[in-house]
């Protein structure tokens, strides 16, 4: 299999994730779509690492996974905090910080 296949698949997954972030209104699903985008990036990194024959891309992907885990933990903490204050879980209603 050419590495190009993996890159096109990764681009498709990234586009689906980006579309999901724009369409969905629930912060939980938006976090899921962010995961999709991060994983598409990971797939591209690993594919390039295979193409070049260099393992540093895989280390990069590993660090991306660590950062994604941190982002998930903080994001879910925010969602729980929003829910307990009985605010609406909808990104269109949570716009108080907008300038």
């Amino acid at each position: 299999m050419d590495v190009t296949w993996y890159l096109v698949l990764s681009a498709l997954l990234f586009a689906i994730g980006a579309g999901g972030v724009l369409i969905r209104r629930s912060p939980l699903v938006i976090l899921l779509c962010l995961e999709l985008m991060l994983n598409a990036g990971n797939l591209a990194l690993v594919a390039f690492s295979r193409a070049v024959g260099n393992e540093e891309g895989q280390v990069f992907a590993l660090i991306v996974m660590v950062v994604a885990a941190c982002e998930v933990v903080v994001g879910l903490g925010l969602i729980v905090a929003i829910f307990r204050r009985r605010l609406p879980l909808n990104v269109d209603d949570l716009r108080d910080l907008r300038g």
């Binding site: 689906i16 024959g53 660590v66 903490g77 729980v80």
Partner: protein, 189 residues
């Protein structure tokens, strides 16, 4: 065999991704993401990234998804209203996604990088094994490794502070959040 495996895993990953975006119940979206992540782990195996694939299954499909399932069950299903703050947003957003994909594909297919249209460089047998990744991570990228561990610690503490029980709250305690975050951190290491 490799091509069949690639297409099966790619269809799994694509179907999971579309289901994440399309399903209305967040709980089912989380389950679809698990399918997506396992398919991606299979793709990583095809790319000789064994350690990444194992970490993907253990950390993502295991620990992080448990966190998601907990929060989806705690929050429950919320109604997503159908009104659009920006007119035509539901139509424009998929169009933008398609445009993004076309643009990226043109960039990928039109590139002059010769290694992309081949099967990849010659690699040693130890490519992507835990041994070689661990050597890189603990020697050349030691600073990055330590920074990542610091980041995980800060994120775990931050999550406990954000979601922790306040004195004026009458809700039930969420002590399972903290322990699940700790588990994610351990697994990520």
């Amino acid at each position: 065999v490799v091509q069949v495996a690639f297409f099966v895993a790619a269809i799994g990953a694509l179907g999971g991704a579309i289901a994440v975006v399309g399903l209305r119940n967040p709980f089912y979206s989380v389950l679809a993401l698990v399918v997506h992540l396992v398919s991606l782990a299979a793709l990583f195996l095809l790319l000789y990234a064994q350690f990444i694939a194992a970490a993907q299954v253990v950390v993502y499909a295991g620990a992080v998804m448990v966190l998601y399932v907990f929060v989806a069950a705690y929050v429950g299903q919320q109604e997503e209203p159908l009104y659009e703050p920006i007119p035509g947003q539901r139509l424009l957003a998929p169009l933008l996604g398609v445009a993004l994909f076309v643009e990226l594909s043109i960039a990928i297919l039109g590139t002059a990088l010769s290694s992309l249209s081949s099967r990849g460089a010659q690699i040693p047998a130890s490519f992507g094994t835990p041994t070689s990744i661990g050597n890189l991570l603990l020697e050349r990228f030691l600073t990055v490794f330590e920074a990542a561990s610091m980041l995980l610690l800060v994120a775990a503490v931050g999550a406990v502070v954000l979601a922790g029980r306040r004195r004026d709250d009458t809700d039930r305690p969420t002590s399972e959040r903290g322990s699940a975050g700790g588990r994610a951190e351990e697994a990520a290491r």
